[in-house]
């Protein structure tokens, strides 16, 4: 007769602090928000309205226009990151891992530093750099005879969002760089040497040997970028304010949520519609992450050395 294993108390004890803290500050508020979105203020206080808030958000022409505008902007914000931040991050990592590069440690640090700066600092600094009145950008362009190229980018509807996305790329390019750099360093020398023996060098070595080995890291970076971008708020709020001007062209889900939940100037905050938007954001992020987990991550091949 097999002896029953004693309950392993130490596991519960070790898990408890993290589980308790995480539950208290993440899970409970999350369900609180989901719950809040099912209520609204009626004639006599708070009433249960079921999914009617969602019907308003997606059905009312004004609410839905704001929502789709914010979602569209958010998608563009994410796309710019995927198209610029991650390829540049990979390229920088590849350059840094080159054994012939001198001063790699300096570059690595310099490129990573903006990541640790506060959004507020980054926002204000770039706003000043790009200011048509006091900024150094017009002067610098003038110095190389390209003054004509300068425009008040942050103030134009067509360019504001892309400019902000690029500022954010500038700030966060260090993260994919570091992760990919670490992944590149972890490729065993034997693999590289074997490739060289087979005559696979230079570019084809990167494409055929290194890239497949760092794909899982690129996957993780993509999902981090996705979650980060769809939760973004700070940079837009700092540079463009809660109204996300000009003409809502930089309004993303985060600023839309803030304006609705907390109110803005004469508009009084509406926690119920705010929670509805937050729930929609949660849904979007959940969908994106699930898609990644089930459709992409399971197909990624991992190599064991």
């Amino acid at each position: 007769m097999a002896q029953r294993k004693a309950f392993r108390w130490h596991i519960a004890v070790f898990l408890a602090p993290a589980v308790l803290v995480y539950t208290a500050i993440m899970i409970v508020p999350l369900f609180g928000t989901l719950n809040l979105s099912l209520f609204n203020t009626g004639e006599e206080g708070r009433v249960f309205v079921g999914l009617r808030n969602f019907a308003t958000l997606f059905g009312d022409p004004r609410w839905s226009a704001s929502f789709w505008n914010a979602l569209g902007n958010n998608a563009w914000f994410f796309l710019v990151h995927m198209l610029v931040q991650n390829p540049v991050g990979v390229a920088l990592a590849a350059l840094l891992s080159s054994p012939r590069l001198r001063g790699a440690a300096f570059y690595r640090t310099a490129i990573f530093i903006p990541t640790i700066l506060s959004f507020v600092i980054v926002g204000f600094v770039w706003k000043l750099i790009l200011s048509p009145i006091w900024g150094i950008a017009p002067g610098m362009l003038d110095a190389v005879g390209l003054k004509g190229l300068f425009a008040p980018w942050l103030g134009r509807e067509g360019t504001a969002l892309t400019t902000l996305a690029l500022i954010s790329v500038w700030q966060f390019v260090g993260i994919p760089m570091m992760l990919i750099y670490a992944a590149l360093l972890s490729i065993p020398d034997e693999v590289i040497e074997a490739a060289e023996m087979d005559g696979v060098t230079g570019w084809s070595q990167f494409w055929k040997i290194k890239l497949p080995l760092i794909l899982p890291s690129i996957g993780i970076i993509s999902i981090l970028t996705f979650v980060g971008n769809f939760n973004a708020f700070d940079l837009i709020y700092v540079t463009q304010g809660a109204l996300a001007g000009p003409n809502f062209s930089t309004d993303i889900l985060g600023t839309f949520l803030y304006r609705t939940f907390f109110g803005f100037q004469l508009q009084i905050g509406d926690p119920h519609m705010g929670a509805t938007i937050a729930t929609a954001m949660f849904g979007i992020i959940l969908l994106g992450v699930s898609f990644y987990l089930f459709a992409i991550q399971r197909r990624l091949r991992r190599y064991q050395f």
Binding site: L243, P246, N247, G263, F264, Q267, D270
Partner: protein, 419 residues
């Protein structure tokens, strides 16, 4: 031995506790962080000297965040004893939710006219919940030194105004007008609400809009947008990305000739300019010679009491003082550009402030059109006006299209507009 020490310690704790209890500290919530020094150096000492035992702590937060911060604090029960009141619905909502105390029976309320109190009363005027402190007046501040240099005089009519702007532009030394659209509210507040009353005829137009007898697509409401659309050519390079502080600096550094203003700038500009040039002011130009002029004399700031305060008696005492003529004169002179709403006349020293307040004699005063009742629903008319005004100036929207959009938004929830 130890027992005596313990006893001594115990008594000393009790005694200090008792000493603490005598002083009541009242905390004031406010969005006027610019005024921190004035409260700490002038206003609070004057009150504390006359009322020993009450300490006042002025704790402002940043203006754009104030409403959100205050609401959260009130909900959480951590708000201060005294609450600086935004005019109209923001405060009315707090009163209805029971966050602000009813102050109708405050003796000092007798010192204020009904118009002054209207921004902080229930719709039927039965209950007043904040003590009116000040109003702000819109107009244009100009660089007098620059005007003298170019031989210009302040305009009275719309035609003169644009002729003047053309001249400044032609000369090229100065940016004709310092305003940007990046913050949007500048365009709405210093633009639309500044010049608008002349076109919608002040109170008459504002009331008609509330009653639903006129609409935002009527000429009187579209005309100010048509004016704003013309402003584009007279603003500085890159005005699309120019923020409110940028505009202020452009003017105080003497690079711009005219600044579409609110009177609250007087106290800010004076020390910044530091005598480098002289300032003057003119009221918004009228459409044609001989028209009645209207100005926006906006009831802007008041002080109320947190209904959950632990020291209601002391707070009321302070509010009585805020309603007194002593406070009125102290405040109006410490903060030139914030005009007292107290019925007792206040002698002001600042010449620019006297100029602004002088328009009350010749022009019909009104308040900002979007503040009373009309910003109660979703979409919020005031916030929509910000975007619309900025769009009209940048050319993203025509005046007619902007007006049409505002009207549709208002009619979506304001019953009298739904016909």
């Amino acid at each position: 031995m130890t027992k005596t020490i313990r006893l001594a310690l115990l008594t000393s704790t009790l005694l200090t506790g008792a000493a603490w209890a005598q002083d009541v500290t009242l905390t004031i919530e406010s969005w006027r962080n610019d005024d921190l020094a004035i409260w700490q150096e002038k206003i609070i000492p004057a009150f504390e000297a006359a009322n020993p035992g009450i300490k006042i702590n002025f704790a402002p937060s940043a203006p754009p965040e104030y409403n959100a911060v205050l609401n959260s604090k009130l909900d959480a029960g951590s708000a201060g004893d005294l609450i600086t009141c935004r005019p109209f619905d923001a405060s009315l909502e707090l009163f209805k939710k029971g966050k602000l105390a009813d102050l109708s029976d405050l003796a000092a309320m007798a010192n204020f006219s009904d118009v002054a109190k209207s921004a902080w009363q229930t719709d039927d005027g039965a209950q007043t919940f904040c003590v009116p402190m000040a109003s702000v007046i819109h107009g244009f501040i100009y660089n007098k030194t620059a005007f003298d240099e170019l031989g210009l005089t302040p305009p009275r009519t719309e035609a003169e105004f644009f002729a003047l702007l053309d001249k400044i532009k032609e000369d090229g030394t100065y940016i004709p007008m310092a305003m940007g659209t990046a913050d949007q509210w500048e365009a709405a507040t210093m633009g639309y609400q500044n010049i608008g009353p002349n076109y919608w005829h002040g109170e008459e137009g504002r009331k008609a809009l509330i009653e639903g007898t006129s609409s935002l697509t009527d000429d009187g409401w579209v005309a100010p947008f048509r004016q704003l659309a013309k402003w584009k050519d007279y603003l500085g390079d890159g005005f699309e990305a120019q923020t409110y502080p940028d505009s202020q600096n452009l003017f105080t550094l003497g690079r711009a000739a005219i600044y579409p203003a609110g009177s609250w700038e007087i106290g800010v500009f004076g020390p910044q300019i530091g005598g480098a040039f002289e300032m003057g002011a003119f009221p918004p130009p009228v459409p044609a010679e001989g028209d009645t002029c209207y100005i926006s004399d906006h009831t802007d700031i008041a002080l109320g009491m947190n209904a959950a305060t632990k020291h209601p008696e002391e707070a009321r005492k302070f509010l009585e003082w805020v309603g007194s003529s002593e406070f009125a004169s102290l405040y109006a002179n410490a903060l030139p550009g914030f005009f007292s709403l107290n019925s007792a006349p206040v002698e002001m020293e600042d010449p620019l402030a006297r100029e602004f307040v002088g328009w009350r004699e010749t022009c019909e005063p009104t308040i900002r059109s979007t503040y009373q009742i009309l910003s109660r629903g979703t979409p919020n008319l005031e916030n929509e006006t910000w975007t619309a005004s900025a769009n009209v100036i940048t050319g993203a929207e025509t005046p007619e299209a902007a007006a049409e959009r505002l009207q549709q938004g208002l009619a979506a929830w304001h019953a009298p507009q739904q016909k």
